[in-house]
């Protein structure tokens, strides 16, 4: 089944509440996906630096890792955000791999931070203190596993490019062939998960020059199966449903935000929802909001 939520803030006054609002939305979607949960939050960033989201075994001393590498680190439970100069990213990754092999880098980006774990979504959100996070947009996922095992690696969102992430409700039928094609194109896929293939496909299209909107258009021709995607980039937020519209989706827009939920229930607690324009995104139609636009 799976549940998806997404929130794109238009009114900066609402940015400090981003995490708290998303946490409430994620909580409501627990019964669509009680296996595991994850979310990506686009928060603040400093020019010339990148944020690496690290994941380690329970009890990892992230402060010690940050001190050893000489970079600022902000731990949250089993994850931590390491902020490094952009020019030093490759060296830091090499150092992490050789000196701290138990640590995985699960995302990179100027502003994006990514957290995911196995467990009831409401508990996962609390462990990472999602309610304390602020930012411009965020997407989250509650997973009921179908195509691969219930593991932290199999939880969403998937990130296959800087500041890019994807959550998926559905299952893809041509992911094996597409995975081989993407690997030939030099993309690195970390899991056996079909949704990661969709994320990598969008990364590939954008690497070839597509905007997020164009990449989503192309996926209508190249991805087979059923899907509702919500995708984030540094400045944007996109939604796409397969042409049959197998999986549910509802959206709400006000002057303050654009919100996505698998069901209306997830949106019911948002401020001003009673006067929002609530609509069901049409099948095979790309929806995209961008802060730069």
């Amino acid at each position: 089944m799976c549940g998806i939520v997404g929130l794109f803030i238009k009114d900066p006054k609402l940015e400090p509440q981003l995490g708290a609002l998303l946490a409430e939305m994620l909580d409501v979607m627990c019964d669509r996906g009680p296996d595991s949960a994850g979310f990506a939050v686009y928060g603040s960033g400093k020019d010339g630096t990148v944020k690496l989201t690290l994941r380690g075994p329970a009890g990892t001393d992230f402060a010690a890792i940050g001190a050893a590498l000489g970079h600022e680190v902000a731990p949250r439970d089993t994850h931590a955000v390491l902020t490094v100069p952009a020019a030093a990213e490759a060296d830091v990754r090499t150092a992490l791999k050789s000196r701290f092999p138990a640590i995985d880098v699960i995302s990179t980006g100027a502003r994006m931070e990514l957290y995911k774990e196995v467990g009831l979504p409401a508990d996962v959100a609390k462990r990472f203190k999602l309610e304390t996070m602020s930012g411009t947009h965020a997407i989250g996922h509650t997973r009921m596993a179908t195509e691969s095992a219930v593991t932290t690696d199999g939880a969403h969102p998937f990130s296959t490019g800087a500041d890019q992430c994807l959550v998926h409700n559905g299952s893809l039928s041509n992911h094996a062939g597409l995975r081989r094609r993407l690997e030939r194109e030099g993309l690195h896929l970390a899991t056996e998960n079909d949704s990661e293939v969709a994320a990598a496909y969008l990364t590939y299209r954008m690497r070839e020059g597509d905007t997020l909107g164009e990449a989503l258009e192309h996926s209508l021709g190249d991805l087979d199966g059923f899907y509702t995607f919500v995708v984030g980039t540094e400045s944007g937020f996109g939604v796409l449903r397969d042409p049959i519209a197998c999986k549910p989706a509802v959206m709400a827009e006000t002057d303050q935000y654009v919100a996505f939920g698998s069901e209306y229930r997830a949106l019911a607690g948002l401020p001003g929802i009673e006067n929002a324009r609530v609509f069901e995104p049409e099948p095979a139609k790309v929806y995209f909001w961008d802060r730069a636009a």
């Binding site: 049959i244 519209a245 549910p248 509802v250 069901e263 229930r265 019911a268 609530v278 069901e280």
Partner: protein
């Protein structure tokens, strides 16, 4: 019973249920307990907040007004009840309705009126995909447009659409009667446009009348679609395939 039902002072028999303090299960249990001769014939439901299965399984001639958006299967299996939803409805509103009336004052999601045997479903806004899928006698009037695969395998009843219809309208249709005023993106297998004669205009007028909009739209603007009847009849030429 922990249901906090507040009898209102100004109208005898009016029952108020607030779903921010009572559960849907409590509401539905109270509704299911009503006998055919109940005098609790008027119910108002506050704060539905998109919850699922509100007023599902009604079997009494009562009026229910739900003040806000509802989730999946609202008023599903309804028999005799008259349900008004002041908001949008999620997947499967009025699914398998047997009789009675449902009025959605906003949009309806997928599979509105699916498999329903009777009654009238009126949707003021749009209905998305698969509206009236496998309909078996229900009348559905949509004032906006309907999505793809509407009336798929529709067996009986009518679907009246004042706006447009999506791809594959009436795919594998049996004998449901379809009337669309706007554009049809595409007809499904075995669904064809048919001549609209006086008896069909009279039928359409009766459905518009039931929905309270007779005279508001020009009957001459509608086109009629139905089954070509080539899929569901036995053909002796195909006997070796069976």
């Amino acid at each position: 019973m922990t249901l906090s039902v507040k009898p209102a002072g100004d109208a005898a028999g009016l029952q108020l249920v607030d779903l921010s303090t009572s559960s849907v299960r409590e509401l539905n249990a109270a509704l299911h307990a009503l006998g055919p001769d109940t005098n609790q014939t008027l119910w108002k439901v506050a704060h539905p907040n998109g919850r699922h299965a509100i007023a599902a399984g009604l079997d009494a001639a009562i009026d229910i007004e739900i003040d806000g958006p509802v989730g999946y299967y609202c008023a599903g299996m309804n028999k005799h009840g008259r349900v008004v939803i002041n908001g949008n409805a999620g997947v499967g509103v009025g699914e398998n309705m047997m009789s009675g009336f449902i009025h959605v004052k906003g949009d309806a999601s997928q599979s509105a009126g699916a498999t329903a045997h009777g009654g009238l479903l009126v949707i003021d806004g749009n209905a998305s995909a698969r509206c009236g899928i496998s309909m078996k006698g229900i009348d559905i009037v949509v004032k906006g447009s309907v999505g793809h695969l509407s009336a798929f395998m529709g067996q009986a009843g009518s679907l009246v659409v004042l706006g447009d219809a999506g791809e594959a309208l009436g795919d594998s249709l049996y004998e449901a009667k379809l009337f669309v005023r706007g554009k049809v993106a595409g007809l499904g297998a075995d669904c064809i446009e048919k001549e609209i004669r006086d008896e069909h205009k009279a039928l359409l007028a009766s459905k518009l009348d039931a929905a309270g909009i007779l005279g508001e739209v020009d009957i001459g603007e509608f086109r009629r679609y139905g089954s070509a009847r080539t899929l569901y009849h036995f053909h002796v030429d195909n006997v070796s395939s069976y």
